[in-house]
């Protein structure tokens, strides 16, 4: 999907970042030509610091030289700008929109910290706590899926929607953690709907192109874990 020459759409990101994946999936779903500018791990480019001076984080979408920051805000922006390209990501009904937004915020506030908490946890006890929180979050998301999807394959119904992108971008990392820790986050017994959903989501060709291979993420996770272990303890 790299643009050629005069790209008006640029995305600052990194291959492994699930937040960046949200933006890429949305751009792909809307068939937007864009230039992907990969940030190097451990450094921040001038362009990034200039485009996101407040948080200095990826992803940053730059559209006609105007930066948009925060992955969920970027996804909504993409949906609103390229409105005539492909199905809408946000539901048509205001209440359904509120539900999608609520669970997207929940994913960011509760699920993701628990998911990555398993990797960063300094003690076995802390790791177990993160694992419990991650599983509990997925249980709530399973229930939410049941109510929101109304029997269809996605949170968005027949097509991938905002909440599918919000959660689906993390499926690669979920698979990596499953492999590293030897237990299932998405379980046919406990979260059958989400299991089916994850498969449908990953089978979508624009998604498949974005979610990194599990093996590569596992390799990266091991490097990052070593860094955390060797780093001096935070004060």
């Amino acid at each position: 999907m790299a643009g050629s020459g005069n790209s008006e759409v640029k995305l600052l990101g990194a291959w492994a970042s699930p937040y960046v994946a949200r933006a890429r999936i949305a751009l792909n779903l809307k068939e937007v030509q864009y230039e992907f500018l990969e940030e190097q791990f451990g450094t921040k480019s001038e362009l990034l610091l200039k485009s996101n001076p407040i948080y200095k984080k990826i992803p940053v979408l730059i559209h006609d030289d105007k930066p948009i920051c925060e992955s969920l805000i970027i996804v909504q922006y993409i949906d609103e700008v390229w409105v005539s390209s492909g199905p809408a990501l946000m539901p048509a009904d205001a209440y359904d929109r509120a539900l999608h937004r609520f669970w997207a915020v929940y994913i960011d506030d509760k699920f993701v910290p628990a998911l990555f908490g398993m990797m960063r946890a300094p003690t076995e006890e802390a790791k177990a706590e993160s694992k419990e929180q991650a599983l509990a979050s997925l249980q709530l998301l399973e229930e939410a899926f049941g109510k929101i999807s109304k029997g269809k394959p996605f949170f968005g119904g027949d097509t991938i929607g905002y909440l599918d992108v919000a959660l689906g971008a993390f499926v690669g990392w979920m698979k990596a953690f499953e492999e590293m820790n030897g237990f299932k986050l998405l379980d046919d017994a406990k979260t059958p709907l989400l299991c089916a959903w994850a498969e449908n989501f990953c089978n979508n060709e624009v998604v498949g192109a974005v979610i990194p291979e599990t093996a590569k993420l596992v390799e990266l996770a091991k490097v990052m874990q070593a860094r955390f272990k060797n780093a001096p303890p935070a004060n």
């Binding site: 407040i54 559209h63 105007k66 948009i68 920051c69 925060e70 805000i73 970027i74 909504q76 922006y77 609103e80 700008v81 205001a94 209440y95 929109r97 509120a98 937004r101 609520f102 915020v105 929940y106 709530l140």
Partner: protein
Amino acid sequence: MASEKGVMLLDFWVSPFGQRARIALAEKGVQYEYKEENLTEKSELLLKANPVHKKIPVLIHDGKPVCESLIIVEYIDEVWSDKAPLMPSDPYQRAQARFWADFVDKKVYDCGSRLWKLKGEEQQAAKKEMIEILQLLEAQLGDKKYFGGDSFGFVDVAFVPFTSWFYSYETCANFSVEGVAPKVAQWAKRCLERESVAKTLSDPKKVYEFVCFLKKKFGVE
């Protein structure tokens, strides 16, 4: 919840998050039932309406609950779209509005709480951070009448309830909002000229009494 027609807001009098919803409803002229929650003894209704977080505010519209204050405000703006639009119509401006409202969410309340919870060096660090936050907001406001430009908008609604906490922040941490962010201070006064804001915001002295009560409760000297 029975699917009763109408609008109800589960809230707590001094909550700046609840006040966001109240201001949005007032701007739109929406009639609603206000229910004050006792946060030490949450009602059945609250626990049922927000089982995930068990927090206020919760907007219940025709029996269906909407949670999280900024989500509530966007919902109100979208449903009662005929009057006083809070979100801009341009997608880039909308992204900016969401960004800055989210910034207020991430930064102001947390940092503010640290101003009255902590002492000594830690409090000084929180004070430095609060000044930075206010100055970033000052830069964003610039010479505009409101964060939303000429019209009172989403970021204004998100931030204005915290202006009644300025007195508490100033008193606990010994600084002046007007001194570090004069445009924000002027903006706060301008907002109070709006009926929706004047009728909703808590008296800063009452907020300070509440903060003192919390300090005692948390054992902060």
